[in-house]
Amino acid sequence: MAIEISTPLTDEVVARLKAGDNVRISGILYTARDAAHKRLVALLAEGKELPFDIRGQIIYYVGPTPARPGRPIGSAGPTTSYRMDSYAPILMEHGLKGMIGKGSRSQDVREAMVRCKAVYFAAIGGAGALLAKCVKASELVAYEDLGPEAIRKLTVEGFPAVVVNDIYGNDLYEEGVRKYRVS
């Protein structure tokens, strides 16, 4: 059974989530990947405001394909998360509560999740056509010049994801592999 959650995420909701839980997310997701992260972190370093209020929010690591006419978005699956590892801790320190991507995170990111009470979800990589069905609206927020890497505000309904890292230091990838590994 999937756990229904909605954004913005609160400390209470985050505390309930455990590695391995299936969730369905409804509400707002902000898209950002490599180039947008670089700009966000540069703004914070200069003490400037971010283009959106990051507190309680979820960032989805995605660069969608262009929308066909009449559709909110094209194909929209997760990109590999480790490329955002050097930027993620400072965003969590500024209030980011969730990240959606695929693939494992660095020790620094995992420690920041415990410290800042944030969670990391995986969506199915390469399932962009299926995941796009959950996106009901898409709005440009910043950095249009980055093309597919621009920051967008997505309105989603029942977006399926799995909790990989919870605030208690658990990691689904490590546990899953340990269970099925034949030595």
Binding site: P64, P66, K102, E149, L172, R178
Partner: protein, 286 residues
């Protein structure tokens, strides 16, 4: 036919073929891959893994039926040409015609433009997914075979080359390949297809690994010793426990495809190039 028995092919026909292949390859996962995923749903022991495989199959069905890219990373356009030596291209520059096909396919087909002009300093998106990565082989005949294989960044980033000593032998090759897949873990969107190149030179071995990915899932190298190595590697990799999407399970790879070439007496290059469970490629013969 033109003079001297040469077959004339207008480069605009190449543009049209490349355009069609870019769109079609991104929306239509190869049927051999679908077949392997369907078998994996039956054999996968992890309940989570089974569900992931079901959702992947559902995704690939939606992509095919609705003409939507299966993955949002519609990749760099790898274009492989097999050109008969009795073909004469007319009407313009062949490479420009290929890039025009990529430009039209990615723009009109609503595909993502994922190339930057400069790898290190500027990193500005070129806006039309050009330039393509183009490889041409000249062969006897009057045909032109065009294969487009869009290659996503996530799986490509997990590639590796090793210049092993010949003494490393079969065990050395196995160790390198299995370790690459293990290190890649959940990043390349498992279940993956593993392309392996053995032999040639530093540059050639990487191309062999990439070309191995063009072979259908389930095909075997015609040389029985390499076919056996493909099977042994697949078994070893599926013992890693990574499973669908890295959540744990038995289906880490759908196939291992090996291509090999002669090499220097002092060398034994090995390359690994991974495809995700989409692994698109399509071919047209002109």
């Amino acid at each position: 036919m033109g003079c001297n028995g040469l077959r004339e092919i207008h480069v605009s026909d190449v543009t049209a073929a490349v355009k069609k292949l870019c769109v079609s390859a991104n929306c239509n996962v190869p049927r051999e891959t679908i077949g392997a995923l369907e078998r994996a749903v039956e054999t996968e022991e992890s309940p989570v893994g089974k569900e992931v495989l079901r959702q992947i199959l559902e995704n690939h069905r939606i992509a095919r039926e609705e003409g939507v890219p299966a993955c949002q990373d519609t990749g760099v356009a790898m274009v492989f040409l097999e050109v008969g030596q009795d073909v004469h291209f007319v009407g313009g520059d062949l490479y420009a015609a290929i890039n025009e096909g990529v430009r039209q396919g990615y723009t009109e087909g609503y595909l993502r433009k994922s190339l930057v002009n400069d790898p290190l300093f500027k990193r500005v998106n070129t806006g039309d997914n050009t330039p393509a990565m183009i490889y041409v082989d000249i062969v006897p005949g009057t045909h032109v075979k065009i294969t487009v294989a869009p290659k996503g960044g996530g799986a490509e980033n997990m590639s590796g080359v090793a210049m092993l000593a010949p003494a490393a032998g079969v065990e050395g090759v196995k160790k390198f390949v299995v370790e690459r897949v293990q290190k890649a873990g959940s990043n390349p969107c498992p279940p993956v297809v593993v392309g392996v190149g053995i032999g040639g030179t530093f540059d050639r071995v990487a191309l062999l690994a990439k070309k191995a990915l063009l072979r259908p899932v389930g095909s075997r190298n015609p040389d029985p010793v390499y076919a056996k190595l493909e099977e042994e590697l697949l078994t070893e990799i599926n013992k890693l426990g990574i499973g669908p999407q890295g959540f744990g399970g038995r289906t880490t790879a759908l196939a291992v495809n090996i291509e090999y070439a002669p090499c220097h007496i002092a060398s034994m290059p090995v390359a690994v190039n991974l495809n995700c469970h989409v692994g698109p490629h399509e071919t047209i013969v002109l």
